[in-house]
């Protein structure tokens, strides 16, 4: 069935992003906005705005019933959940399904399978996708036995967690019991699920993920990989494609593993399978599947020419995959910087406030996804993402040069940002050489801090 009107159950840059593609497709949009977002830029890009509740997300963007009611009451036939908020909640997708509302994303069953990290590990095992040594532990004795086999350092992870949430690092075997107890308690409070599992901690690895699209009947294509190794406390700040310096063979293995995993679930929609890649040992491990559109999707769009939001809508309306396997083009390289309202000098404290003036970059090969303009208020209730600057070039050097210039051109006044950190990162020879691992950013931040002390 064709989709005529979509409720956008999100805010910020992704709401604006979804609205733009809908406009191109001639699909009407209703923005479900909290009180704080009624006058936001996305609100001006949609056909209609409905106010779903107060600013605090627990009373607005995290209310499944309210969002479904808003969609039905405004005559929408589909709902786009964006990322974050309710986008990966199986119960929310189920509520949409029960009310005949198309959830632009996977089925509730697939969300449940991807969201339960132990279930996801089991799926990976079934299709021979490599897993970091580990497994579920149900008693302290079993945990000690498993820990002895895995060796330290290791991670205690929550089955209901993901994206770095609900994780404890254990460096010495004697700390295991305490970590287990703490992790289970935290997981119970955060996810309502006290199950935890152990996994070997890979200290020096790259975070590489593969973008897939599935039609829901077992057909899956991939749109290449993204390298997201520049992260701090599991928060990515720079992403790029292709992953620099990975052999074609290893990339091929990653693509194939991601497709096997998604095909096994008969995955519907856009999703990302994340891996840890140990380049020196030429091996990789399954991390998790993100069953939604991701913040960093534009780099993939830049090199593949595929509008991933349009692809999501096409799949949701039953048109299947427009690309057959292996058909997507891959031209050049693309890199993205996430510009956040946070202060690197104050341990990345969020910096809400009024954006007094802003100048986003423009030029060849530059794309900016943002909802921020002069006069935008950055509320303290939501994530601190102000926008994303994405550059595309015929090779990595050109994409990088364009990104350096684009970041230098950008001005944001009124709130603290990480722009200066990005400028340093992009100028750093180690990053420019390509192929940094997840320990790189903390190391760079350490160097910056000591330089500041010397100069201060």
């Amino acid at each position: 069935m064709s989709i005529r009107r979509i409720l956008i159950a999100n805010r910020g840059e992704i709401a604006a992003r979804i609205a733009r593609t809908c406009r191109e497709l001639g699909i009407e949009t209703v923005l479900a906005a909290s009180e704080a977002d009624r006058e936001s830029l996305p609100a001006r890009l949609v056909t209609r705005v409905v106010c779903i509740g107060p600013a605090h997300p627990s009373a607005s963007y995290l209310q499944p019933g309210t969002l479904v009611q808003a969609a039905l009451g405004t005559g929408c036939d589909a709902l786009h959940p964006g990322y974050g908020f309710l986008s990966e909640r199986a119960d929310f997708a189920r509520l949409c399904e029960q009310h005949g509302l198309i959830f632009i994303g996977p089925t509730s069953g697939q969300l449940a399978a991807a969201g339960d990290k132990l279930a996801a590990r089991a799926v990976a095992q079934e299709v021979a996708v490599p897993l970091a040594p580990g497994g579920e532990v149900s008693s302290p004795d079993a945990a000690r036995e498993l820990a002895a086999r895995i060796g330290t350092p290791l991670l205690v992870k929550a089955a209901g967690g993901g994206g770095g949430r609900g994780m404890k690092l254990v460096e010495r075997a004697q700390d295991l019991d305490a970590a287990l107890e703490l992790a289970a308690a935290e997981a119970g409070a955060a996810f309502g699920d006290t199950r935890v599992y152990l996994e070997r901690f890979v200290a020096s690895a790259r975070h590489v993920e593969v973008q897939v699209l599935g039609d829901g009947t077992g057909n899956v294509v991939h749109l290449g990989e993204r390298d997201c190794s520049v992260q701090r406390r599991y928060q990515k700040i720079i992403e790029e494609t292709p992953a620099p310096g990975l052999s074609a063979e290893l990339c091929g293995q990653l693509h194939s593993a991601a497709m096997r995993f998604a095909a096994r679930l008969k995955y519907r929609g856009a999703g990302t399978v994340e891996f840890l890649v140990d380049v020196r040992r030429n091996e990789f491990f399954f991390l998790e599947m993100n069953a939604r559109i991701q913040v960093e999707h534009p780099v993939t769009e830049a090199v593949s020419g595929v509008d991933i939001v349009a692809a999501q809508i096409a799949i949701a309306s039953g048109q299947g995959l427009r690309l057959a396997r292996g058909e997507s083009r891959r031209e050049g390289c693309a890199i993205e910087c996430r510009i956040n309202a946070e202060d690197p000098a104050r341990d990345f404290a969020p910096s809400p406030g009024l954006v007094k003036a802003v100048r986003w970059p423009q030029g060849e090969g530059i794309r900016v996804d943002t909802h921020v303009e002069a006069g935008t208020r950055v509320p303290p209730f939501y994530d601190s993402l102000l926008g994303k600057i994405i550059t595309h070039g015929s090779d990595r050097a050109q994409a990088l040069a364009r990104l350096r210039a684009a970041v230098a051109m950008t001005r944001i006044e009124g709130v603290a940002t990480n722009l200066a950190l990005h400028a340093d990162l992009l100028a750093d020879p180690e990053f420019a050489a390509g192929g940094v691992d997840t320990a790189y950013l903390p190391r760079l931040l350490g160097r910056r801090a000591s330089a500041a002390v010397r100069h201060g």
């Binding site: 009180e35 409905v50 106010c51 779903i52 509740g53 107060p54 607005s60 019933g65 309210t66 479904v68 009611q69 808003a70 009451g73 405004t74 509520l95």
Partner: protein
């Protein structure tokens, strides 16, 4: 002559209780135009004295704000505490919880907002007399939308 807010409220009630949609009233050069059906009620506008082009007309002007009744600052708006479908009556066919002119106490139920089959009662929150019912029965109301307004100056 001058009209008090209370007089305006009385006139409004005349219209609300009638089967008419509009009311135009002229008293001593003061013209009041009231309209129902959700459209904002227009202001009472000063009328120029018939043949007084030269001199300023001795008009009785009702104090700003121009949209007299709808935004009477003394009226208290009862706003939707959440998004959902608004119902004026406990069930289809039943008499409404309140009508214009009804006296209410803070805990008087004035409507229901349904979210996914969950009925949430809406209470007046103040005592007074219902002056206007804005939200239509069975329609989607947004969070914070004005459902009805209450005149707290009239003892409930």
């Amino acid at each position: 002559m001058s009209l008090t807010a209370r007089d305006i409220a009385e006139i409004t009630r005349l219209l609300e209780d009638s089967s008419f949609d509009e009311l135009q009233l002229e008293i001593d050069g003061l013209k009041i135009h009231l309209r129902r059906s959700g459209a904002p009620v227009t202001a009472a506008e000063p009328v120029r004295a018939a043949a007084a082009a030269a001199s300023p007309a001795p008009t009785a002007t009702i104090a700003a704000p121009p949209a007299a009744v709808a935004v009477d600052p003394a009226l208290v708006a009862v706003r939707a505490p959440l998004l959902g479908t608004f119902y004026r009556a406990p069930k289809p066919g039943a008499p409404p919880f309140v009508d214009v002119g009804a006296s209410v106490e803070p805990d008087t139920i004035v409507g229901i907002i349904e979210v996914m089959k969950l009925m949430n009662t809406v209470r007046a929150g103040t005592s007074g007399v219902v002056r206007e019912i804005r939200a239509r029965d069975g329609t989607l109301v947004e969070y914070g939308e004005t459902l009805l307004s209450i005149d707290p100056r009239v003892p409930g």
